[in-house]
């Protein structure tokens, strides 16, 4: 433990993973270990059945929340896993894909890997604080063989909310699939598949307040995804091929039942609070921080006056590397993230690729008092 560490850590790294988790989430995960300890779909005994019911209940909760069918909800380890399933499963040889310039490595790396292997080609649409400009940049890159657009709902670096509703409409009109990265957007935005999203990929342990090891791929059921992994599904066991129906086609191996139970409780927690209410609370925290930062000299906040932003603030202190700021704050008991946040593409767009930024991301449990303490420490 650091020397100057005097009290419990004050956590502002919720864009990485939310902490603390709601009591209901912790209880649900613990209960699943005890009461639903079997392997879902791998037996007819009570514990396997209980596990199956637990998992299906979570599918129903997710389906209700995002406007999908329960069987089109695929549980994954995290958002990166879900995005890889979507990208490798949907794109075929000769396809072209458009990604935004704010994408996380979980999108950029698989796309570049597929392009290097000669399977696909890709273009990068520049994101502007002006939504109309952003949409024009996407439209300009569409080709006859464009199979999909991959776009994050909210930038994990700046918190900018991308115009996904308009982009969904644009893709629908052009007959192009929209793969949305909802890692930062789900839980604070009222995201629905009816927004024009073909495949929604999200983490369970961020804005949905589940535990780590949980994520989801939610499909609208209009496209067939080739399985990235092959293995046991508990169904069609005699066949050498993976089943061709969801969720079994993409859920090879045993799913993480306690993590899924926790995610289920987390989604219900978010639904009970309401995404708008959570957004409002966290935005108030960010506003307080930005007011405090504005009173200081030598602080650069990565926000534009015209863009729409989710409750997340990236900043740089003049004369201090972001990693030094984060280390200094960690020694005082404050948890923030520094660096390029696994999004080199976004930092190239923002001109902060050398050292990155300090990222402040509150949760529904963050308080004004903690923010004031953070400002004092800064």
């Amino acid at each position: 433990m650091p020397k100057n560490y005097v009290s419990a850590p004050i956590y502002f790294d919720n864009a990485a993973t939310t902490y603390p988790k709601p009591q209901s989430v912790r209880a649900a995960a613990a209960r699943a270990i005890v009461k639903a300890g079997g392997n879902p779909g791998r037996g007819g005994h009570p514990l396997a059945r209980a596990a199956g019911e637990t998992v299906y209940h979570a599918r129903e909760t997710a389906a209700k929340m995002f406007g999908a069918e329960p069987e089109n909800v695929v549980f994954t380890q995290n958002c990166t896993h879900a995005l890889n399933l979507a990208i490798w499963g949907l794109l075929h040889e000769g396809d072209h894909v458009v990604i935004s310039s704010m994408e996380h490595n979980s999108v950029w790396r698989p796309v570049v890997t597929m392009a290097k292997a000669g399977i696909i080609t890709y273009s990068i649409a520049q994101i502007s604080p002006d939504d109309a400009q952003t949409l024009a940049n996407f439209r300009r890159l569409f080709r006859p063989n464009t199979r999909a657009v991959i776009c994050t709902l909210v930038s994990n670096v700046t918190g900018q909310i991308l115009p996904y509703l308009e982009l969904g409409q644009l893709c629908r009109d052009a007959g192009i699939a929209l793969i949305a990265d909802g890692a930062q957007g789900c839980g604070i935005l009222p995201v629905r598949l009816s927004d024009g999203i073909t495949i929604l990929c999200t983490a369970g342990h961020k804005g949905l307040y589940g535990i780590t090891g949980s994520g989801m791929l939610i499909s609208d059921g209009t496209c067939q995804l080739m399985p990235l992994m092959q293995g046991g599904t508990g169904s069609q066991s005699k066949s050498a091929q993976m089943p061709d129906f969801l969720p079994d086609a993409l859920e090879a191996g045993t799913v993480a039942v306690p993590a899924i139970a926790g995610l289920d409780a987390g989604m219900r927690f978010v639904e009970n609070r309401g995404t708008a209410s959570i957004f409002q609370h966290e935005a108030a925290i960010c506003d307080r921080l930005m007011t405090g930062l504005a009173a200081r000299r030598g602080v650069k906040v990565l926000r534009s006056a015209v863009g729409r932003y989710a409750p997340l603030v990236s900043f740089v202190l003049e004369g201090e590397e972001p990693s030094e700021t984060a280390e200094r704050l960690a020694n005082l008991g404050f948890c923030v993230r520094a660096g390029i946040h696994c999004s080199p593409l976004a930092h190239e767009t923002l001109g902060t690729a050398t050292a990155g930024t300090v990222r402040f991301s509150p949760s529904v449990f963050s308080t004004v008092q903690q923010t004031d303490a953070f400002l004092r420490a800064l």
Binding site: G41, E53, V55, E60, T233, S237, K238, F245
Partner: protein, 146 residues
């Protein structure tokens, strides 16, 4: 009117009576609590008869349920058709179970692991056509029979 229809009508009447008495018993209990607070125990006890009526009806309901179940079971072979189908996926099996429950359809399910993997065998009381159309409407892959 066949045996099943008669049983259903009987159950409906009993359910209605049960509900009325359940509300009566709640009212009676509340009344008792209020009166006891006011230390008028004699009146309170006199008025609490609704509670006992509720309990009695509850007991009768269980008896009727038991009898009707026996009748239904007995007449199953003669009058009511049993539809059997299997679902070879845990997710779809669970979806089917919940769908049948929500639709208030009587069924039982046997889950096993066979060479096909997870298998849920459903035994549903009723004609096959409406049940299968319900499954098809909900995009549930099933196999007719065992």
């Amino acid at each position: 009117m066949n045996e099943r229809k008669r049983t259903q009508n009987l159950r409906f009447c009993v359910d209605l009576g049960f509900l009325c008495c359940r509300f009566g018993s709640i009212y009676g209990n509340l009344y008792v609590l209020i009166q006891m607070k006011q230390k008028l125990r004699r009146i309170a006890l006199r008025r609490s008869f609704l509670f006992f009526v509720g309990c009695g009806v509850n007991l009768c309901r269980f008896c009727i349920d038991y009898i009707s179940l026996s009748i239904t079971k007995g007449s199953r072979k003669e009058n009511v058709m049993e539809t059997v189908f299997t679902v070879n996926s845990e997710t779809y099996a669970e979806k089917t179970r919940r769908l049948l429950q929500r639709s208030r359809i009587r069924f039982r399910v046997v889950r096993t692991t066979t060479s096909q993997g997870c298998t849920a065998k459903f035994f549903v009381m009723g004609d096959a056509a409406p049940i299968f159309s319900l499954l098809q409407a909900n995009r549930i892959p099933y196999h007719q029979g065992g």
